[in-house]
């Protein structure tokens, strides 16, 4: 991987208000930083989820640093787009994205899940600026986003709304309630992104309760469906663009990903769904990601 477009110290450039529309190379560099953040904060906390955050990193980075129109220093800026992670357990990636984007200092990441920090195990509106709705119980987020889309329609505001879901989460019936609702009301400002990493807590999604053919399901629920390689940033950007263009239907992006992507010993292994790396494992992971715990935690603590 290359950092030639964005060094680890180019932090404030990611804090600018508005839609950043970064080019691919910068996004790739930022995604690498995010992965380092995730491993570092998990190693520090010794608690939390590794797998889903790493599979969500690339589209998450594309969302935050290319697509979303937000003002991190004014999280409730009336003109903002709305984003929400229905999979509340992927807080390591959510908080890393938020901190890198400027919602709060990077050093806060080092207090993930700690009693005296503001970064709860699952997203908490009460605790963290920029979290608009708490989450942690699966299946509820797309409904929340439907509400936001309806409110925006009432206000005749063109805001776009992005909702990140899990593939295991598709087993929750509420997903299909909100899916039906969004299509019925033709909420075309709404864009769902499914982290299709084929894993959930107890193993392969297809072994737990199969969700295939997932694209057909969403199509039968009257959504516009786009499938992408969820680690291929150009494909992701193209999907976001297509979603913007598509009128009369909400769009869902099936982002085919690999759980634990970016760390060799975590990749595609469901046992990394819900546990953090031990410190020695973190060092191996961070080495693969081109840094060390000492170096990267110092960067976080200094910013």
């Amino acid at each position: 991987m290359t950092l030639n477009t964005l060094s680890a110290n180019d932090i404030s450039v990611g804090h600018a208000p508005g839609r950043l529309a970064w080019p691919v190379e910068m996004l790739k560099a930022k995604a690498l930083h995010i992965r380092r953040d995730i491993i570092t904060l998990l190693a520090k906390a010794q608690s939390g989820h590794s797998g889903g955050p790493l599979s969500s990193t690339d589209f998450g980075t594309a969302l935050f640093f290319h697509e979303l129109n937000v003002d991190p220093t004014n999280p409730r800026w009336p003109e903002r787009d709305f984003w929400h992670f229905s999979i509340g357990h992927v807080t390591p990636v959510i908080y890393s994205l938020m901190a890198e984007r400027g919602y709060f200092p990077l050093k806060d990441l080092m207090k993930f899940r700690s009693f005296d920090g503001h970064l709860q195990g699952h997203p908490s509106k009460h605790d963290t600026p920029g979290i608009e709705v708490s989450a942690g119980s699966l299946g509820q987020g797309l409904s929340v986003c439907c509400g936001v889309a309806m409110a925006s329609r009432f206000d005749q505001h063109p805001r776009r709304i992005y909702c990140v879901m899990g593939d295991g989460e598709q087993e929750e019936g509420q997903i299909w309630e909100s899916s039906m609702f969004a299509a019925h009301y033709k909420l075309d400002t709404l864009c769902g992104i499914i982290d299709y990493n084929r894993k959930q807590i107890d193993g392969d999604v297809e072994d737990v309760i199969g969700i295939k053919p997932l694209a057909d399901k969403w199509r039968a629920f009257n959504w516009n469906v786009i499938e992408v390689d969820g680690h291929d940033i150009p494909q992701i950007l193209a999907a976001f663009a297509a979603a913007r263009e598509h009128k009369g239907q909400p769009t869902v992006i099936l982002a085919h990903t690999i759980m634990g992507q970016g760390v060799s010993f975590m990749a595609d292994d469901y046992r990394w769904h819900g546990k953090p790396p031990r410190m020695d494992e973190a060092e191996v992971a961070l080495k693969e990601l081109g840094t060390s715990y000492a170096e990267w935690s110092a960067r976080l603590l200094a910013n």
Partner: protein
């Protein structure tokens, strides 16, 4: 009727004195009417329904403000969270469905998405209580107070009649935070009027008394007032408190009742475990322990029948309050 129309006899200071024949009206209509008035005043008011437009009486709002009305269909979980999303964007959503579904089908959504986020969602739970009648147990919501009360940040109001439901709905809109409104299906006696005071989180002494306090909510407030009349003929002076807001609870008033009257009967059209009686018990033992009797549904499911039959069969009548008052007075006397 209004307090000014009627010349009070027994206790001149009473806020409420019942005439012999009381007007009957649906509490849910108070909800439906208030929504329209709120809609006129505040463009942020949005109403959602889960395929029960007329039963919950939100059709008044739907007719007046179709552009701010959202039909969600039969999807209560979705409705609770859509409301959260609306509230997150500054709207004041009122959702409406039967209380059995509002409190149970979307309990997780109420807890995590609405209450934990402390979002400004108002939950209209219709068809509370055994008086729902012929639909039977599944549709007779009787656990809402227990459930809602246990969830932090939530409030719950159980108004006693049409006017109080109207005021409770207005008050819920003014309160910043999630509120559950519980109301019933049938015509019930109108005991308050347009001008009877109503304060969110404060109980109201509807009639004074010195020997015991009857603390009631919902339709049981009427039964309590009737019970007081009977008790008066037996020389027992009963205070009647309309404790319309089981949460936030008017702890000071409950303590005052315990101290001043030395005995309490609670009355609610709700399961006995953890409801209004439970809430009052918790305060009483922590402040001024006095004998109490709880008039409520005794931990059993409802059933089909006419509302009046069921109120009789489930022991939710003035006579049941009178019997409880006699028991509590005997216990009070035997302690003295």
């Amino acid at each position: 009727m209004s307090p000014t129309d009627v010349k009070p006899e027994a206790a001149p200071a009473d806020m409420i004195t019942l005439p012999e024949k009381v007007e009957m009206k649906k509490t849910r209509e108070g909800f439906g009417r208030a929504l329209v008035d709120l809609g006129e005043q505040d463009p942020r008011i949005v109403v959602l329904v889960g395929d029960l437009k007329e039963s919950t009486m939100v059709h008044f709002f739907a007719q007046r403000f179709p552009e701010r009305f959202i039909q969600v269909g039969i999807a209560e979980q979705n409705m609770m969270c859509i409301s959260a999303g609306l509230a997150a964007m500054g709207k004041i959503p009122f959702l409406a469905t039967y209380g059995a579904f509002a409190s149970c089908r979307s309990a997780d959504q109420m807890r995590v998405t609405v209450a934990y986020s402390n979002l400004n969602v108002k939950i209209g739970g219709a068809h509370g209580g055994i008086s729902v009648g012929p639909d039977g147990a599944t549709h007779q919501a009787m656990e809402e107070i227990s459930i809602v009360r246990s969830i932090p940040n939530m409030s719950i109001i159980v108004p006693c009649d049409f006017w109080e439901t109207y005021k409770a709905t207005i008050a819920a809109a003014k309160h910043d935070g999630p509120v559950y409104l519980r109301f019933g299906r049938e015509d019930v006696p109108v005991v308050t009027d347009k001008d009877t005071p109503f304060t969110f989180g404060k109980g109201e002494v509807f009639a004074e008394g010195t020997d015991l306090s009857i603390i009631a909510c919902g339709v049981m407030v009427y039964e309590a007032l009737r019970a007081r009349e009977t008790l008066a003929t037996q020389g027992i002076s009963a205070r009647v408190v309309d404790l319309h807001t089981p949460k936030p609870l008017d702890r000071a008033l409950i303590e005052r009742c315990a101290r001043e009257t030395g005995a309490i009967v609670t009355a609610e059209e709700h399961q006995v475990n953890g409801g209004l009686g439970g809430a009052v018990s918790e305060v009483v033992v922590q402040t001024a322990p006095v004998p109490m009797e709880l008039v409520a549904v005794l931990d059993r499911f409802g059933q089909s029948g006419k509302p009046a039959e069921l109120m009789d069969a489930f022991g939710l009548r003035a006579k049941d309050i009178v019997a409880a008052a006699e028991r509590v007075m005997q216990r009070k006397r035997s302690r003295a």
